[in-house]
Symmetry: C2
Subunit: 350 residues, 2 copies
């Protein structure tokens, strides 16, 4: 059924009872109207050890930072500003107070960068792994809220930053972890009574950017501010957490539209391309399906084409078409590939 | 350090950056001011299998219902009304789509009872146990928001419903679980190739009320509505989740006050007393330290003493004193016992 299908199934036919609820399930945030000058936004994310992160190579401070950023990113993806955050931690006895301080120092750093207040928290015992649940509330001017469903035919499709780097960073971390574990097992088989390899040096030289993208993603506050300063209101927007392909399909399906995006226009960092080649992977596949970029994907009217050029770090990658024309990636050699989402089923993966 | 000390430690010196944040960590909810007619409230709770619930005897529908109710209760504890809820589930492959439907049917039932909208959700794979994280947003009229810190000398201390029943319900469930497990182990030792005892009949006769209080708690929407109808605004309020003793101390400490509460005034159901006697437990200890009652504890000015009599299911149990006079339980025989909280340390328990 896939994660999105499952959520849809579980929440379908939920009757909205409060006039304060403008938009429920189905976008980066839910939207609420409490009668003030601005609308409110809310988003939540649950991160589980062994599924969303691996403590063998993720430092706790980075984990806190990233856990905050992925939620803050959802607020920006509605064209909003984050204001308040609640944090719930489930921790087992292998964690010390200092460990929790490390997580919180990352959370606080991310909140300072995005001007968000930590207003609530609870900390529970966990029988198993580390659990982090974060909720962020934000606000947005009434006429600036940006949904996924507003893309119109001929709109230009834009992305911020570059794609695929966080995914390649993950591949590198997993590769070095496998090497480490096999060296450790070998030493133990030779009779050495050790359970760590303190002298092990993972090989990340020249790939620091990829690690940073995986371990310390940044929500694109700067892009939202630049769009506002340039007077550009996107017609649709979301953040790229599951890969460009999947997110393009969300925008097209919810906007009842098609699209044509161009492989040669997809922004890639040199390190992403070099690491992909080294690891025998197709860099376009990494960018289309890798995920965890936390860049912004948005559409703007054709009339804004000049204005968008003035914003550094934003690239036009294609345009919106009629729904009947389908959703296509135009490859460098001119062949056309229909977009596919790498559907993710939470009941299958574990 | 205790759970509350730990949260205080991790969140201390957090500088509030947004004028929209009125109250952060330290009450049942955080309070936000977005400039509308009413203030906003937010609360969150993380429930972990094996720590907060035991699926051997908790049906999934009840689990969903209770997970929602404990959060809804926090909104009422600020004198507010719940409006929106987000739900995150972490599930392993032993759960089917039907299991998730059961959890959601309980969530939806609770939300219908309290007129709350489910506006967001995500469902993740979990490598281990079931994880449920819920956040609720509510609102409250500006002049009606009720904190823990407003109790004044001579205020009357009131509680709704009766106390200790949920705790006794838990004892019964644990007792029958132990009997079941030992009968199963015995059968297996006798060579029976079974892993369940389908014919096992737990003995709960005459104790249905206690089970219901444990498995299906009700947030006291009715009390909040009755207080409003009677024109009573409590000076302080919170819900009783960790036991009367601990919550009285929160209200007194945050209000910089003392209290005198009377053992003979603590509301008890007959079944609670009978089960405590049967299990050789002190019923007052169960009521003071048992927890999970989700009743409301609040204080009202002495001048409201007549008005409160008209509200069914509310009982005055004592009064607020000066801080220097301490926090006391006056026993039936006239002896005075100083209140103690059963501090709970999440890093110790697991």
């Amino acid at each position: 059924m896939g994660e999105f299908g499952l959520i849809r199934h579980l929440t379908e036919n939920i009757e909205i009872k409060n006039r304060e609820t403008l938009k429920g399930v189905g976008d980066d945030c839910a939207v609420m109207d409490y009668g003030g000058e601005r609308l409110n936004l809310i988003t939540t994310d649950l991160l589980l050890e062994g599924v969303h992160f691996d403590l063998q190579y993720v430092p706790l401070k980075h984990l806190g930072y990233k856990a905050a950023m992925v939620n803050l990113s959802d607020i920006y993806a509605m064209n909003g500003r984050p204001r308040q955050m609640t944090v719930s931690l489930g921790v087992s006895k292998r964690f010390s107070v200092e460990d929790l301080e490390d997580i919180y120092s990352g959370l606080r750093l991310a909140c300072e960068a995005c001007q968000c207040d930590i207003v609530g928290g609870d900390t529970s015992a966990s029988m198993t792994g580390l659990t982090i649940s974060i909720t962020v509330v934000g606000d947005v001017a009434r006429d600036m809220v940006t949904y996924r469903n507003g893309a119109k035919e001929n709109d230009i499709i834009c992305v911020s930053g570059d794609l695929g780097a966080a995914y390649m960073g993950l591949q590198l971390l997993e590769r070095e972890k496998a090497i480490y574990n096999s060296q450790l097992a070998e030493a133990q088989q030779q009779g050495k009574k050790i359970d760590t390899l303190p002298q092990f040096q993972p090989d990340f030289s020249g790939r620091e950017y990829l690690l940073e993208r995986q371990l310390k993603p940044e929500a694109r506050k700067d892009i939202i501010e630049a769009l506002a300063a340039a007077g550009i209101k996107p017609t649709s927007m979301m953040d790229i957490s599951d890969g460009l392909s999947s997110e393009l399909m969300h925008i097209c399906n919810q906007s009842k539209a098609g699209c044509r995006v161009y492989e040669e226009r997809i922004p890639l960092d040199y390190q992403t391309a070099a690491a992909a080649e080294e690891m025998n992977m197709n860099v376009t596949t990494c960018a289309m399906n890798g995920g965890e970029d936390y860049e912004l994907l948005f559409t703007i009217p054709l009339s804004m084409n000049d204005a968008i050029q003035s914003i550094p770090g934003v690239k036009a990658i294609g345009y919106i078409t009629a729904a009947k024309d389908g959703q296509w990636l135009i490859c460098r050699d001119g062949t056309e590939m229909e977009l596919k989402a790498q559907g993710w089923n939470p009941l299958k993966e574990s």
